[in-house]
């Protein structure tokens, strides 16, 4: 399955858009993209799921993994996802409490890098 990855610079953020499937077969490619971004000095990532076809628990796990990596580099991970189906999936897995879901990449970019909020103390 194809991750359908597109990468766009929106300084100070980097947007990873997933146009395909995020599951066991494509997670390695996603993980590599996150690692590459961090080593290129990009510590504030936005994952855009607006056009994502399919995401499963392995894909959600990869998002958690990316968040951990970015946090330990004093970075941030934000998710843009307007698809009701995917929002429901985050809720079902309680990950709506780990990730703030934004309606669009534009919304994330407009809000800027998140402050060290209450959430960031323990994440």
């Amino acid at each position: 399955m194809d991750l359908g990855l597109m990468i766009e610079r929106r300084p100070p953020m980097l947007v990873l858009s997933i146009g395909g499937d995020l599951e066991m077969s494509s997670v390695p490619q996603f993980r590599d993209a996150v690692i590459d971004a961090i080593s290129a000095g990009e510590h504030h990532l936005v994952v855009d799921l607006s056009a994502t076809d399919f995401i499963d628990s392995t894909g959600l796990g990869a998002l958690i993994g990316a968040l951990k990596r970015l946090r330990s580099a004093d970075g941030s991970l934000q998710v843009a996802c307007a698809q009701p189906r995917l929002q429901e999936l985050f809720k079902l897995t309680d990950l709506d409490k780990v990730f703030v879901l934004h309606q669009s990449v534009e919304e994330v970019v407009a809000a800027g890098i998140p402050n060290s909020s209450k959430r960031s103390e323990w994440l």
Binding site: M1, E23, F54, D56, G61, I64, L89, T93, D94, K97
Partner: protein, 158 residues
């Protein structure tokens, strides 16, 4: 180590009219094929609502992902079998592997979301999700392998 005993073989003999069987290599590249087959099989003669199609695709994908991981864990080249039995108002899917098995009752409970511990759990989301999405689910596992049975109705009744 058994939570309900899936028994499709018996049913198979009685009525093999609407049974589709798929066997795939134990490799993640074939997950998309499994999803496409169960969704297509479900809708050959019944009309599953879009949300149920998605529930079906995701639940079966979770079970198949675990089956593939189980074979890869022990370097087993054998294929994974996915059987779908269709009737008017539901589809019953059985995913079988010949991996090492596990004890479904002993799965660690997840830490509370919103706690620091939660972040260490990149795994362990699959089975709870699968159980949540399916209208019925049983896992039966032994050292010979694991069989997961999932039932999805055409409509959500909850």
């Amino acid at each position: 180590m058994t939570e309900g005993v899936p028994n499709m073989d018996k049913k198979d003999k009685k009525d093999n009219k609407d049974l589709v069987t798929l066997e795939i290599p134990a490799r993640p590249e074939f997950l998309g094929l499994v999803r496409a087959v169960v969704a297509a099989a479900a809708n050959v003669e019944s009309d599953f609502r879009d949300d149920r199609d998605e529930d079906l695709r995701l639940a079966v994908s979770e079970a198949t992902t675990n089956a593939i991981e189980a074979h890869q864990l022990i370097g087993l080249d054998n294929r994974i079998s996915v059987q779908a039995a269709m009737s008017d108002d539901r589809i019953e899917v059985v995913v079988r592997d010949q991996g090492p098995g596990f004890d479904p009752a002993a799965l660690e409970a997840m830490p509370e979301p919103g706690t620091p511990e939660r972040l260490f759990f990149e795994n362990g989301l699959g089975i709870p999700l699968m159980r949540e999405l399916a209208d019925e689910s049983d896992i039966s596992s032994s050292s010979d392998g694991t069989t997961v049975r999932l039932v999805i109705y055409t409509r959500r009744y909850l």
